[in-house]
């Protein structure tokens, strides 16, 4: 991985973020995930965890341990920055065809998808066409965030990309499949939310008692199928 485009800045005194370039792309996201996986398998003393996002990765560390192990560097931030910059060339981007593809059955109708009609109107299409376009793509899990197991998937076909509601709903049912611009996502739990809800799945995205509590991981591929 080339270090030249990378911007590194402190996220407080116990974390730093590497910005790999300000755009949403598969390439940058693959880099972020690869670097995160690399750090998880090659932890430095004081490493706590790493979080890949669309085009960045954040590394959390225990500054006391870092300072203890790297007393020659001026600060824990400088030390971690140094470690990561030195590690970057060793990070290999896996070939994306290795990604898992997970199929998620979704019910698309007026009850399961209260905004399906609205998305169709905005797009100038009928709802069947919206569903056909939506289920016609394979989506990438760019990152998880917001609530446990909520995955940000992309990218939604331009023809049906619809901005989120001006003011969020107080409660969106668990399993709701939503669109926000070119992003799509599944509400892993009931929560407030502003995305356009076009369907609903029975698939459990978040199972707190499983050893692996979330079905999806960053980098996975998802296909929605009409249930």
């Amino acid at each position: 991985m080339e270090p030249d485009m990378v911007k590194i800045f402190p996220l407080g005194d116990s974390a730093l973020t590497l910005d790999l370039g300000g755009e949403i792309s598969d390439t940058l996201n693959e880099k972020a995930i690869a670097l995160s996986n690399y750090l998880d398998s090659h932890p430095f003393p004081g490493f706590i965890e790493s979080v890949p996002a669309y085009s960045s990765i954040t590394v959390y560390y225990d500054l006391v341990t870092v300072r203890h192990y790297f007393p020659d560097l001026m600060s824990a931030f400088e030390a971690v920055k140094h470690i990561i910059e030195n590690g970057l060339p060793a990070v290999k981007i896996p070939r994306s065809k290795k990604a898992r593809t997970i199929e998620i059955p979704v019910k698309f109708d007026r009850e399961a998808g209260p905004d399906l009609e609205f998305v169709a109107q905005q797009s100038g299409l009928d709802t069947m066409e919206v569903v056909r376009i939506f289920t016609g793509s394979t989506y990438r899990v760019f990152m998880l965030g917001f609530i446990p197991g909520f995955s940000y998937l992309g990218q939604v076909d331009e023809r049906i990309a619809t901005p989120r509601h001006d003011s969020p709903r107080l409660s969106v049912p668990k399993g709701s499949v939503g669109i926000a611009g070119k992003q799509t996502g599944i509400y892993s739990l009931e929560s407030p939310g502003g995305w356009q809800i076009i369907g609903q799945t029975d698939t459990e995205l978040f199972s707190p008692n499983n050893k692996k509590p979330c079905l999806l991981s960053p980098g996975d591929h998802v296909r929605f199928v009409s249930a």
Binding site: L11, G12, A53, M74
Partner: protein, 320 residues
Amino acid sequence: MNIVVQKPGIHTTVQDLGRFGYQKLGINPGGVMDPVAARLVNILLGNRDSDAVLEMHYPAPRYLFGEDAICAIGGADFVPAVDGSEIDNWRAFAVSKGNVLSFGIKLAGNRAYLAVSGGLDIEDWLGSASTNIIAQAGGIFGRALRANDEIELRSTSKLNLPVSSGKISHSLIPNYSSHPTVRVIAGAEFDCLSNQGLKTFLKNEFTVSMDSNRMGFRLIGKPINLSAPREIISSAVSVGTIQLLPDGQLIVLMADHQTTGGYPRIAHVISYDLPLVAQLGTNDKMTFQVVDTKEAEDLALQFEKNLSFLRAACRFQTNS
């Protein structure tokens, strides 16, 4: 042996120092809002810093002890009392089977911590006892305490030991205030503030709004502007991250923050000053002062050294 919750109080939860390693799955670290208070009361009892404690707000709970125990309370001062006799914060005290621990008035601060010698016996979820309300996991059934809940205690093994009579030194207790100056490190978008925005951020007071909770504190103040609108791609955030909302107001992310965010990151509260923010309540005010990363780290490092002295002293007392 256990503690029975007679009155649950407002949003009393089991917390420890947090759940790490799962933020990439959207599961936030959670944990105590004021880690220094929780660590101090644990250390005082010879517990591990990371042992689970009860985080309490006001009105505070009332507990009936089903067994003898040694406890300590720190953080906010809600005037605790055992069977009606007032006890001090920051000092270990003995409770006998059948005693009731209750709280009086809200004297200072907003979050008090109860630690019990030997620790609370809470089943870990993903490596932590902390309650995650949205996931409905961790702590006691993944929720705030209710009346008649029973909290198991780990062991009585330490009860034969004398209660260390010392009170934690003032120098170790955070300099709590209802109008603190909070030190921050510049965030990624700090340089994007307009001149006026920068001045507002550094010179004005910000009031904690009613709309504040364990997820974050919304602040009310003179609106702050960026020099130009910024489009930010969502990325991970941290406890203490100060985001600028589209209406020019600030939010400080706290223990139960979402793992990712897309608002401009103006600044980050330094670890050393997080307890000062954690103890604020509605209508309290804060001002900000920018320091560099090195200064923030040095403060944390020095504090860690002081804690290790306290830990050694408390071990010496509980073992002698």
